[in-house]
Symmetry: C2
Subunit: 223 residues, 2 copies
């Protein structure tokens, strides 16, 4: 029987790499994206194209009223996306975002009777978001089996974060070996409607360094 | 300084009891409700009235695209709400619902810099939902402090489930002592637009038994 997986698909560099690897292993993939009021809507358009390109079995885009909560430069129009690195956890952090995303993945996993959930977080070249760390993933793993019917009935749900210990350069090298065209992806927090990247936000900065270190030509189109 | 709390407010019997107790203790309350495609929309109208009555500091209703996932009689129009008790976890279970709700509460707690989150789940007279059990709450508690900026910075977030070990009758007796008018609340999974209850679904059944056992006159209006 074909293996099945739920995958969180942002439209960025990391999640496409996870998806390409799953498809290489012939997983049937159910992709989940979120319209959470992010300013960088180009990201969602990228996710749609990527889902089609990799022939996922289904792609759902869930509307989430994150903007009602505010508190992040990504969802709150009163907070600007910084153009230079910041100390500590930056204002682009969306409170509890990955917890909410994984919770929805968990719900969908229950409905589909799928027991493997993949998320492309990494905790090496990242922005210091608390919900990208291995200890967060482990805690969610524990929660997943207590929160669900599947868990209660003994079908263990597994949260996979295959990129968590890789550097951005390692992810890119892996992706190139998988034949990924990273031009399809949008990482920028301030991408314009056409998907052109700003080149200066934290996400762009990490991405640019990644391509440099990987010695791979950066295919990103900048504004 | 006045104590602050985030409270999940469904419009039902349990959460109003938690809110009334918090207000008695002079907490400043931030109430959070969800429009998640539930068929029983009367519940949300009740939540709004209750939030006003108890003078919460703010009441947010978050739109969630739960219906896109389906799989529950509460959100999926193809699944009927059962009119008699079922074995095991019933079809009214919404996969990962409380995980998603608490995740949003966690996000709002971060934005408001509030460290106490209250949820009115109980695991005595309940429908057997996995995400109402003490072990689920404990796991979410652990996650909360790993998932958030507040947790990383040492401000512990606490998940309170003060009703978790009470029977429905005990909750009702507590509420009556707090002066609650339970006629304001809607528990029914199939309530009509006017908020009239069906009297036969699992939620109605537990509520009716609760009033009987508490020897309190049931103020609910039935269809």
């Amino acid at each position: 029987m074909q293996k099945k997986a739920i995958i969180l698909l942002s439209g960025g560099l990391d999640s496409i790499t996870v998806l390409a690897e799953l498809r290489r292993q012939n997983y049937q993939c159910y992709a989940l994206s979120f319209n959470y009021g992010q300013k960088h809507n180009a990201e969602l358009n990228a996710a749609k194209k990527i889902a089609t390109y990799y022939q996922v079995k289904a792609h759902k885009i869930i509307d989430l009223g994150f903007a009602a909560i505010g508190g992040s430069a990504l969802t709150d129009e009163h907070i600007d996306v910084p153009k230079s690195p910041q100390d500590g956890i930056p204002v682009t952090y969306v409170p509890a975002r990955n917890t909410v995303f994984l919770s929805f993945a968990l719900g969908w996993a229950e409905v589909l009777n799928v027991h493997d959930i993949f998320i492309g977080v990494n905790a090496v070249d990242y922005s210091g978001y608390p919900d990208c760390r291995p200890e967060f993933i482990r805690a969610f793993q524990l929660l997943a089996n207590l929160a669900t019917k599947a868990g209660v009935e003994g079908h263990k749900i597994k949260i996979h974060a295959p990129l968590i210990e890789l550097s951005k350069a390692e992810i890119i090298k892996k992706g190139v070996a998988l034949g990924i065209d990273y031009q399809q992806t949008v990482s920028c927090y301030s991408a314009d409607q056409a998907g052109l990247a700003c080149g200066v936000c934290d996400a762009c900065r990490l991405r640019i360094i990644g391509f440099n270190e990987a010695k791979v030509n950066d295919p990103t189109h900048y504004q």
